[in-house]
Amino acid sequence: MWERLIEEAPRFFGYYNLVFLGKAALATVALSALGCIIGIVLGSLVALLRLTTRLPLAPLRWIAALYTEIFRRVPFLVTLMLVFFAFQLSKVDLPMFWVAAVSVTLIASAFLAEIVRAGFESVHRNQWDAAAAMNFGLLDTVRYVVLPQAWRIILPPAFGFFVLFIKDTALASQIGVIELTFAGKVLNNKGFSAVLVFGTILVAYFLVSWPLSRLGKHLEQRLASPRHQRP
């Protein structure tokens, strides 16, 4: 086996393959980043909806709760298949990257909605009371009082979720998105040995994910320190 690896390696780590892998790694990060950025916006909206109290908004509240419950209990692969076939049947010709991005967004919104909600709930009840008594509406309360206090609670787990999802997007290879895992399959099909190919792919993921998760831990410690809690 070793002879084969040594023989293949120079060809495998050639210029074109490295560029191919680099682009694939970029797609992997972009997929998760895109889904999580849109996801935190939509997730905040969902979390906000769940905080409304007015009676006419009750159906929306209900839908928001159902949404977070459902999409956190369906595997990424199944959501991916549903989105894939839904686009196929609606004859919308969307590149596979975007099909996967929609799936990531759907799931990320649900998980991030819960993270945002937990952040909102971490702000003491008396802050909400004071705002309400001074005639702040829900949006003003969140904007001026709650978010400035909750963001440091929300950011670390949200970032952690983004890093976690970088690895989950490996499943997007199943519908043909050219990201890291798919690149591995392509190179394996070209005849490179599986040890070399998938070993390299694993290392590539590690090189992307490890620094980001370290950054996340650093972020968490920084934001959690009792001093410098100023906005």
Binding site: R54, A133, M134, F136, Q149
Partner: protein
């Protein structure tokens, strides 16, 4: 004509009736003191009045205008006229002292920032905190925080000020600085509804004292009547216990 009229007010926490038919009126310029044992519903009256705990029954009128707590518009108009100061101060932790006082007038009432700032600085000077404008709440003592909270409430230019056990969370040596601030307001003719355990203070500033127990008004009258010659046995019992220590 009385400014605030409460009739048959009821409130519940689950199946527990915490307010059981409260009648109360507060005339313009009056200070009304609410006293009673813990859990008698005094604080709930204030929370219900500003719409933080929805009433189960009864009516609230301000200057003859009936307030329907199910209507957001009614509650909003009501909160334009009432301000509440909480036991735990409830200052916004993410804002400086000055920002705490300015936020509602500028962002909610949309008044000009320069004018509000001037007023805020004046109010903070009045409560003795002119040198703390740029401090954050967690850098202040409890008494200082509570005085900021009073300035913040006053900046709303309320017609009636509700004070909910504002000294109960304070260390004993900090109580008087807050009470002094309220005395000044009483002298200036601010209409106030005060819930407190500071009997000497209540007796001193109130025009009328209301004694509550188990969600009901037991007895009401002048401070002299309630503290020196109560008619009801329960009032007598409470007052004698409180005054004994």
């Amino acid at each position: 004509m009385p400014r605030l009229v409460i009739n048959g007010l009821e409130a519940r926490y689950g199946s527990l009736k915490v307010l059981d038919g409260i009648d109360l009126d507060v005339a313009s310029g009056d200070v009304v003191g609410l006293i009673g044992p813990s859990g008698s519903g005094k604080s709930t009256i204030l929370r219900t009045l500003v719409g933080l705990t929805p009433p189960a029954a009864g009516s609230v009128e301000i200057d003859g205008e009936h307030i329907d707590y199910a209507k957001p518009g009614d509650v909003r108009r009501l909160r334009d006229r009432l301000a509440i100061v909480f036991q735990q101060y409830n200052l916004f932790q993410n804002m400086t002292v000055l920002q705490n006082v300015m936020i509602a007038p500028t962002k909610i009432k949309k008044r000009a920032a320069a004018e509000v700032r001037e007023e805020a600085v004046r109010l903070l000077a009045k409560v003795g905190l002119a040198d703390k404008l740029d401090r954050y709440p967690d850098e202040l003592s409890g008494g200082q925080q509570q005085r900021v909270a009073i300035a913040r409430a006053l900046a709303l230019r309320p017609e009636i000020l509700l004070l909910d056990e504002v000294t109960a969370a304070l260390d004993p040596e900090l109580v008087s600085e807050v009470l002094d601030t309220i005395r000044v307001l009483a002298r200036e003719g601010m209409t106030m509804l005060i819930v407190s355990h500071e009997m000497g203070f209540i007796r001193e500033v109130s025009k009328e004292v209301v004694f509550m127990d188990a969600g009901r008004v037991v007895e009401r009258g002048t401070p002299a009547k309630i503290f020196d010659a109560p008619e009801e046995a329960r009032t007598r019992d409470f007052v004698s216990k409180i005054l004994r220590h």
